[in-house]
């Protein structure tokens, strides 16, 4: 039954080619020696060297990294709490709470960005680094919640119950039993939040202020003026960093998942 049929193989090959060809082309052309982006002039790393002197781009990258780390950390804590709230608690207002978790996932970014900006103006909060962190946390904590919640809903509750029956206090049960079991999902949630924050253009454009230009805002303003080889190089570095992190994370998650909960299916 599990023999892959010809049509399925074709669908897989075409689908993956479609997903990867544009990225592969971008990476190859970032090593193009020619200034003309469409003419191949031999291999070269000159655009990477040029990047080292682009102070504005480096500053933007550092700002983005700072915002991504801070907001992902905050989102992981809040998102894990929200996931616990949804799977382990009964309280009034569960329905609106669940609605507020799912809505940001599909809400168009222009609306989220605009509404947060108007909030910051209304409460007279200076826009900059911190407002972008708040905005990104709000969006990404919902993704963390979804991932962690799936894990919490799947695992064996009897372990928690056994610990508590033996007199383990709830806080300790959480840190000794629950947290280690959901750790792969928490890590995956953190990484997803990190990459979403690093990637976001629209919400950051609305909520940023002077001195907090993020990498996507910087790339966007360059891209509007046309394709440049330097931008190809920035994007390649970006892809390499994120790609390495994701592959590492999925390897960690798979090995941890195997060692901790041998019978449960891996999360899709």
């Amino acid at each position: 039954m599990r023999r892959p049929s010809f049509t399925n193989l074709v669908a897989l090959a075409l689908g993956l080619a479609f997903l990867y060809a544009p990225i592969a082309i971008l990476v190859v052309y970032s090593f193009n020696a020619s200034r003309l982006v469409t003419v191949w002039g031999g291999w070269s790393t000159r655009w990477y060297v040029a990047l080292l002197e682009d102070r504005a781009m480096i500053d933007a990258a550092l700002a983005s990294l700072g915002i991504a780390i801070a907001s992902a950390a905050l989102a992981t804590v809040l998102g894990t709490m929200a996931a616990l709230a949804l799977t382990r608690f009964r309280f009034r207002g569960r329905l609106p709470f669940a609605a507020m978790i799912y809505a940001p996932l599909v809400m168009p970014e222009v609306i989220t960005g605009l509404s947060l900006l108007l909030l910051f103006v209304a409460i007279d909060l200076d826009r900059g680094f911190f407002t972008v962190i708040i905005a990104h946390t709000t969006l990404t904590m919902c993704f963390v919640t979804i991932i962690v919640q799936a894990r919490l809903a799947n695992f064996d509750r009897s372990l928690e119950e056994a610990a508590m029956d033996l007199g383990c206090p709830p806080g300790r049960t959480f840190f000794a039993i629950t947290l280690p079991l959901i750790m792969p999902a928490v890590i995956a949630g953190f990484l997803l939040a990190f990459s979403l924050s690093l990637d976001d253009l629209v919400i950051a454009s609305f909520t940023t202020g002077p001195g907090a230009t993020t990498l996507p805002i910087r790339i966007y303003s360059e891209v509007r003026l046309g394709v440049k080889p330097e931008i190809n190089a920035v994007c390649t570095i970006f892809i390499a960093v994120v790609g390495a992190a994701v592959i590492a994370a999925s390897l960690i998650e798979r090995s941890r998942a195997r060692e901790l909960v041998p019978c449960s299916p891996p999360d899709a």
Binding site: P4, P22, M81, R90, P170, Y220, I239, A268
Partner: protein, 322 residues
């Protein structure tokens, strides 16, 4: 909160949790619910109310650039002046100007067409993933998700490289003899559709894969044993059983695409803009915050129904998983 409501729970129509574990009921348990709840109230719900309010205001050359401003220091009088100052003028502006109407319609059309295209591309891919050998499936999922992790902006930008006039697509097509002359791809609707399908494909494939993968294989075997051809099994059994994933995937793409900004802005033409771009221009170029807010409110109203259906499917999904 968690403590008092254990017995009288009103909101548990969403996935019903286990009764709270005894010891989580104290102060710590309360904080676990309250922290994310308050955060979302403050930074998700309240901002919408502010958008609603500003959409009823008028532009002013001031800081903030709209009137009236709610002045609590003036007490009840302040509130009264504030309510009297509200007007629907911005909504009349939107309704009266066919530019906005066109923009909304165009966004809905683009979202509908690209969602249909995404279904056509996503179903075969997700199905093939679910039918692949078990051992290969985690790898396939990672491969499909990986591009989704690498910046959205970069993936759209990659297509500018390919679609521009002397780009690779034209070079390849001329070389293959499909066209004599380079055609214009960039700044057309075709480019927008390519960009949208490309960017949103993982969002479509993952929910579909999840439902195909969970499918009870004995049903397919039974159909095969009874002599049902494979294509027919697919349409009669597989697709209907994957309905939830189909719906979730379609909405997960449709709703954000309606408000999409990056793809049409970078790949599309400047003649017919989508509503996300209109809102952006209204806000950043025209600096008309009240009209931008009104545009946002109308957009939310348009999207409320699909978002509600999505939430319904999603909560059902979690229920089903248990």
């Amino acid at each position: 909160m968690a403590k008092g409501s254990v017995g009288t729970d009103l909101g548990s129509a969403v996935s019903r949790p286990h009764p709270a574990l005894p010891c989580w009921r104290g102060r710590a348990g309360w904080a676990i619910v309250a922290a994310p709840y308050l955060w979302l109230l403050g930074f998700f719900l309240v901002p919408f109310l502010i958008v609603l309010k500003i959409s009823l205001s008028e532009t002013a050359i001031a800081q903030p650039p709209y009137v009236p401003v709610l002045d609590f220091t003036a007490g009840f009088r302040g509130v009264k002046d504030f309510v009297a100052g509200l007007s629907f003028a911005n909504y009349f502006t939107i309704a009266g100007d066919y530019l906005y109407m066109f923009s909304y319609l165009k966004s809905l059309k683009v979202a509908a067409v690209s969602t249909a295209m995404l279904l056509l591309c996503g179903v075969p891919l997700a199905y093939a993933m679910a039918r692949a050998p078990r051992a290969a499936q985690p790898l396939l999922v990672t491969l499909v998700v990986l591009p989704f992790w690498t910046s959205f902006l970069i993936r759209v930008y990659a297509w500018i490289n390919i679609l521009q006039r002397d780009g690779l697509l034209n070079q390849a097509m001329v070389w293959l003899g499909l066209i004599d002359q380079p055609t214009t791809w960039l700044a057309t609707d075709t480019a927008v559709y390519i960009g949208l399908v490309y960017s949103y494909l993982p969002f479509m494939v993952l929910p579909l894969y999840a439902s195909f993968e969970r499918l009870d294989e004995s049903l397919l075997e039974a159909a095969a044993d009874l002599g049902c051809p494979r294509w027919k099994t697919f349409f009669v059994i597989t697709l209907p059983l994957a309905g939830r994933g189909l719906g979730a995937g379609a909405l997960l793409c449709f709703v954000p695409i309606v408000g999409e900004f990056v793809v049409p802005d970078l790949l599309g033409g400047s003649d017919a803009t989508m509503i996300g771009q209109t809102l952006w221009t209204e806000f950043f170029a025209n600096k008309d915050w009240p009209v931008a807010s009104a545009v946002a409110v109308v957009l939310i109203v348009l999207l409320i129904a699909p978002i509600a259906v999505y939430q319904h499917l999603q909560t059902g999904e979690i229920e089903g998983r248990r």
